[in-house]
């Protein structure tokens, strides 16, 4: 009798446990993993808050935000994707380079036409050649490359800031003058990045593509700009300590020198606004200035980062709809002090900093002046190959490992070699 009772009790317990397990599995929230790099807390905190809000409102979906360094997006993510792993969504800057991994979320978003209307020109940056309909994600922030100056140093030196139309040579000359008058060690500092070099190179006449639209890196325009950068390094206008501190195509930004007011003129881009507002504060006045000119244009490079999907399912679609909504994007952009990638977005920037406000206006105003070559280059699937060739070979020439002639020859060879490896032949 007792044994029968125990046997029955165990059976009931097992059946109940199994049912609980089955129901738990059936009603488990769907995980959506986002790989996110942010420019410090200024970007990470707002996105984390938005994700928390989404998770609270959608118990059937569990969004997991993996905050990673930028290097992980550039180097680890492509390997994960090639191995068939990787997140559901990632914040990406190599927009065309990863397009073979993007998933089409059109069937899973509430209103595909919203994406076309709001992010239209950028969607093509993510699509494979020949595709004009897929939706893979949306532009999180748009960026424009351009220079900043330490306005306080200009005022101390009694040198007037140059206006629109000033050339690169003129900006270099006044930066040297200010540095000399104020005892500032570095007249000019640039981000070590081929992307940053490309806007000025296009201003000097660089075309980047041949008549059939294939990459053709080195021409007179690119030569003129890279020669100028080489000369500035040899003359001390730019410090070798910055570009010399790494090798290959590794990115490096001169923020530490800039924050310490050791730089008069810094070539970077709009994504620095929030960072400067936080880090420089009221130590000195910093001003974004219009892109300096060359004989062909006065342009920076467009760019930005996008949240792109690598898996297509209803949960991913819902997360994308939420994060790309006007309300969420406006709130995010307003906090991080960036230029929206949304074409119709009213942003209430949450800052009283006059430097940040001026910089936002300057960069937003620069968008219409961006040269078509710059847009084409940014949209090209293999642009990173060209950017990396420029910076690694120019870096070698600057430290004396090769002449500029050899560097230009190598730049073209590098591009050709990489394209052959990628596409065969």
């Amino acid at each position: 009798m007792n044994f029968k009772f125990i046997f029955k009790a165990i059976s009931v317990a097992l059946v109940s446990f199994s049912l609980t397990l089955i129901s738990a599995v059936s009603f488990a929230a769907t995980d959506v993993r986002i790989m996110w790099y942010g420019d410090g807390d200024k970007e990470n905190v707002p996105i984390a808050a938005q994700i928390d809000e989404f998770n609270a409102a959608n118990p059937d979906i569990n969004v997991i935000l993996d905050i990673v360094p930028y290097d992980a997006i550039m180097n680890t993510l492509p390997i994960q994707l090639a191995a068939g792993e990787g997140p559901d969504i990632a914040r990406v800057t190599d927009l065309g380079g990863l397009n073979k991994y993007y998933a089409d979320i059109t069937p899973y978003v509430a209103d595909p036409s919203y994406y076309e209307k709001s992010f239209g020109p950028f969607l093509n940056w993510y699509r494979k050649p020949g595709d004009s309909t897929s939706i893979h994600g949306f532009h999180s922030t748009m960026t424009v490359t351009g220079p900043y100056v330490n306005k306080t140093l200009f005022e101390q030196a009694g040198v007037d800031l140059l206006g629109p139309g000033a050339t690169w040579e003129e900006w270099a000359a006044v930066s040297i003058e200010v540095a000399e008058k104020t005892g500032t060690p570095i007249p000019m500092a640039w981000d070590r990045s081929g992307h940053r070099v490309s806007g000025p190179a296009i201003s000097m006449g660089a075309k980047y593509f041949d008549s059939s639209g294939d990459p053709k890196l080195v021409d007179d325009g690119l030569k003129a700009m890279t020669q100028m950068l080489y000369d500035w390094h040899q003359a001390g206008t730019m410090s070798k300590d910055l570009w010399g501190s790494v090798s290959g195509s590794k990115y490096h930004a001169p923020n530490d020198w800039w924050n310490a007011a050791e730089v008069v003129f810094m070539m970077s881009g709009s994504w620095q606004i929030g960072r400067f507002a936080n880090e420089v504060g009221d130590d000195f006045d910093w001003w974004a200035v219009p892109a300096p000119c060359g004989p062909a244009a006065c342009t920076g490079m467009p760019g930005g980062n996008a949240l792109l999907a690598f898996n297509a399912n209803p949960a991913v679609g819902k997360v994308m709809d939420y994060l790309s909504s006007k309300e969420q994007l406006s709130s995010f952009i307003g906090q991080v002090l960036a230029i929206p990638g949304h074409l119709d977005l009213q942003v209430d920037y949450q800052t009283d900093d006059p430097n940040a406000k001026h910089a936002l206006n300057t960069f937003a105003g620069a968008v219409p002046t961006i040269d078509q070559v710059a847009f084409d280059l940014q949209a090209h699937v293999d642009n990173r190959i060209m950017f990396n060739a420029i910076i690694s070979r120019l870096g070698q020439a600057i430290v004396g490992e090769m002449t500029m002639d050899e560097a230009w020859e190598r730049m073209d060879e590098d591009v050709e070699k990489q394209l052959k490896e990628k596409y065969g032949g």
């Binding site: 180097n75 191995a83 070798k240 570009w243 490896e421 065969g424």
Partner: protein
């Protein structure tokens, strides 16, 4: 009283023994039939099997995969999507007009890495042996705080290479601690890490600092193994200190120095992490060694094509060098053992 204590102790030991005994019997249930089938003599292989499985899974299979990667091309990761077999990667690596001038090579970064590695290993190993012997000889003497100094010299060995890189970066940067001292004495700042003429010397110095303790310990062990009566006899003969060092200490230390030489060379060829943190391989490529070339080509191309095939081919070349050095080490250590046995 003692008896009761022993009985209690035995009782608890027996209780503690129950799960182990149960486990052993359970294992016996599995092992007994296996032993019946394969025989007692082959049982050691069964005990080695778990380790061999892991070794095969994480060493042998990747090694074989790496070899096949080196014979393939394309930017895909999966073999099914790659062009295979091809010697293209090896052709590309060794395509040079003159091997003495990296600028004439298709893969000039690889050859710069090769020359930088040779330069690095020659000077790092040479200087490391010199300073290890010097330090070991001093630490072998009866000096005050000998134990403390032995620990101090060994301490950097315990640090992670990334920590070593970061510490020395803070010290050697243009705005770092060392330049602050130079400036305070009225000197000009030196670009230890960003001037090509200084950068390699700086990374060699840091590498010696980080690894010297380990080799000092080996040399110290060698010094302590030298029979003291040899020194006593030499002193009784009135032999000078220099003569004692060069005629007794150094010859008897030679087997240890050989081990130090080969181990340090293997480690030197593999160097990557501390230099990557310290200089990133720059300025230009002046401190970029072979392993960094492999890493950058395969995994850190920053948006360029991740050329797994080329990286695998370069790592196969590096593997051959390391294999040669390892065989040398095995040969000399066996030679040393057989000499000991003869004695």
């Amino acid at each position: 009283m003692e008896n009761i204590r022993n009985q209690t102790k035995n009782f608890f030991l027996r209780i503690l023994n129950i799960p182990f005994a149960f486990l052993m019997h359970a294992i016996d249930l599995i092992m007994w039939p296996i032993q019946k089938i394969i025989g007692v003599r082959n049982m050691p292989y069964i005990f080695l099997l778990p380790n061999l499985i892991f070794f095969g899974l994480f060493v042998i299979i990747p090694l074989v995969a790496n070899f096949f990667f080196s014979l393939s091309s394309g930017d895909e990761l999966l073999f099914a999507e790659r062009e295979l077999p091809t010697t293209k990667q090896y052709d590309q690596l060794f395509d040079c007009e003159s091997y003495l001038n990296p600028n004439t090579c298709t893969e000039d970064f690889f050859w710069r890495g090769v020359y930088n590695t040779i330069f690095f290993v020659v000077f790092q190993v040479g200087l490391m042996i010199f300073f290890s012997v010097l330090t070991a000889v001093i630490l072998n003497k009866k000096i005050i705080g000998r134990g403390f100094f032995r620990s101090v010299f060994f301490f950097p060995v315990l640090l992670s290479p990334v920590v070593v890189g970061l510490i020395w970066q803070w010290i050697l940067l243009k705005n770092g601690a060392f330049n602050a001292i130079i400036e305070s004495y009225g000197g000009d700042k030196v670009s230890f890490l960003t001037d090509p003429s200084w950068a390699m010397a700086s990374v060699i110095f840091v590498s010696i600092w980080a690894h010297m303790g380990f080799y000092t310990l080996i040399v110290l062990a060698g010094l302590q193994a030298i029979p003291p009566n040899l020194y006593e006899a030499a002193e009784m003969d009135g032999t000078s200190r220099e003569r004692i060092f060069f005629r007794i200490t150094l010859p008897l230390l030679m087997p240890n120095l050989l081990v130090v030489f080969i181990l340090a060379s293997i480690k030197g060829v593999q160097t990557f992490d501390e230099i990557y943190v310290l200089t990133g391989g720059g300025p230009g490529t002046s401190t970029s060694l072979i392993v960094q070339y492999i890493f950058t080509t395969g995994f850190a191309s920053s948006g360029s094509v991740q050329n797994f095939g080329l990286a695998a081919a370069a790592s196969m070349v590096l593997g051959v060098v390391l294999l040669f050095l390892t065989l040398m080490q095995l040969y000399f250590s066996r030679n040393k053992e057989s000499k000991h046995q003869e004695i």
